[in-house]
């Protein structure tokens, strides 16, 4: 009897947790813990739920697949304000091989330059020459290097295999043909 009671209680709690988790995509502004519910802005600012409604869902972060949303044309964010600003894009991929027993990292420039300018990462975070910069997970976990964005505004460090996506000997790794830089496959 006692066992049954525990089981029911546990199941109920799991259900409550699941419902709470499912509801976290798009917290209402009035109850998000940051906005003052008495502020005149409440009711005027766009609600996250409305903005995210049509965007592809992720399991982490604010649960939006931002890159997919951009690639699929679901959002069309501006690239510049001033007409004279040069919009830099790049499509090469870099293979990061010193990853211990983890699969190697395939860094795609296309996805990063879709959002960012060269100067956001070069040269203060990463040297322009591929293979020159020493990167380690401790620095990233401390919010340096990749960790400047990943974990704060880009997918977090719990998603190991999204970066560590090229196991040694895999087609993704072999495509580099022994080099560490290649033009991205079309």
């Amino acid at each position: 009897m006692k066992r049954l009671r525990w089981s029911v209680l546990t199941a109920l709690l799991v259900l409550v947790a699941a419902v709470a988790w499912a509801a976290t995509r798009g917290q209402p502004i009035a109850t998000d813990g940051l906005h003052d519910p008495t502020s005149p802005a409440v009711g005027m600012l766009q609600e996250p739920a409305e903005a995210f409604g049509s965007l592809p869902e992720d399991t982490v972060g604010n649960r939006v697949r931002w890159m997919r949303a951009l690639d699929e044309g679901l959002i069309t964010p501006r690239t510049n304000i001033q007409p004279e600003t040069k919009v830099n894009l790049r499509t090469t991929e870099v293979l990061l091989k010193n990853t211990g027993e983890m699969p190697m990292v395939r860094f795609p420039h296309r996805q990063h330059t879709a959002w960012l300018d060269c100067s956001n990462c070069h040269d203060h975070l990463f040297a322009r020459e591929a293979g020159r910069t020493r990167i380690n997970m401790f620095a990233i976990l401390a919010g340096e290097k990749c960790g400047v964005c990943h974990g704060a505004v880009a997918f977090p460090l719990t998603e190991c295999l999204r970066c560590h996506s090229a196991p040694r000997g895999s087609p993704e790794a072999l495509a580099f043909g022994g080099t560490i830089v290649r033009e991205a496959a079309r």
């Binding site: 940051l34 906005h35 510049n80 977090p156």
Partner: protein
């Protein structure tokens, strides 16, 4: 038996933690270095809202915002002169700096910093 009880207790604690209301959205930034000192609510900057409309490079390259919460000293004078937020918040691309309440919309007493998931300021919480 005792072990089972402990395990259930841990499970219950975990569920309660997960059920606690999630605060704010990914990358919401609170700016309260000067706001409350000057008698206005803290600013809530929603990254997600801006990201739908602008690529990161617009603010972090063209407008000159450093990519580290707390490292940008933004004053109302700069904004009124068209720098930082004022490059868009000028009444043309977005509402102008006369609409105080729309940006200064935070709860009293908030700490400056990035909210809603892990932080960029040092050992994150994973």
């Amino acid at each position: 038996m005792k072990q089972g009880l402990l395990l259930r207790g841990a499970l219950v604690a975990l569920c309660l933690a997960a059920a606690a209301p999630a605060n704010s959205e990914y990358g919401d930034v609170v700016l309260n270095r000067n706001a409350e000192k000057n008698g206005v609510r803290p600013v809530i900057f929603p990254h997600w809202f801006h990201r739908i409309r602008f690529r990161c490079k617009v603010c972090h390259h063209e407008l000159g915002f450093q990519m580290r919460a707390g490292s940008n000293i933004v004053s109302m004078n700069d904004i009124i002169e068209g720098k930082f937020c004022g490059m868009c918040h000028n009444g043309q691309i977005a509402w102008g700096p006369d609409r105080c309440d729309l940006c200064h919309s935070g709860k009293p007493g908030l700490q400056s910093g990035i909210n809603g998931d892990s932080q960029t300021k040092g050992p994150g919480k994973w």
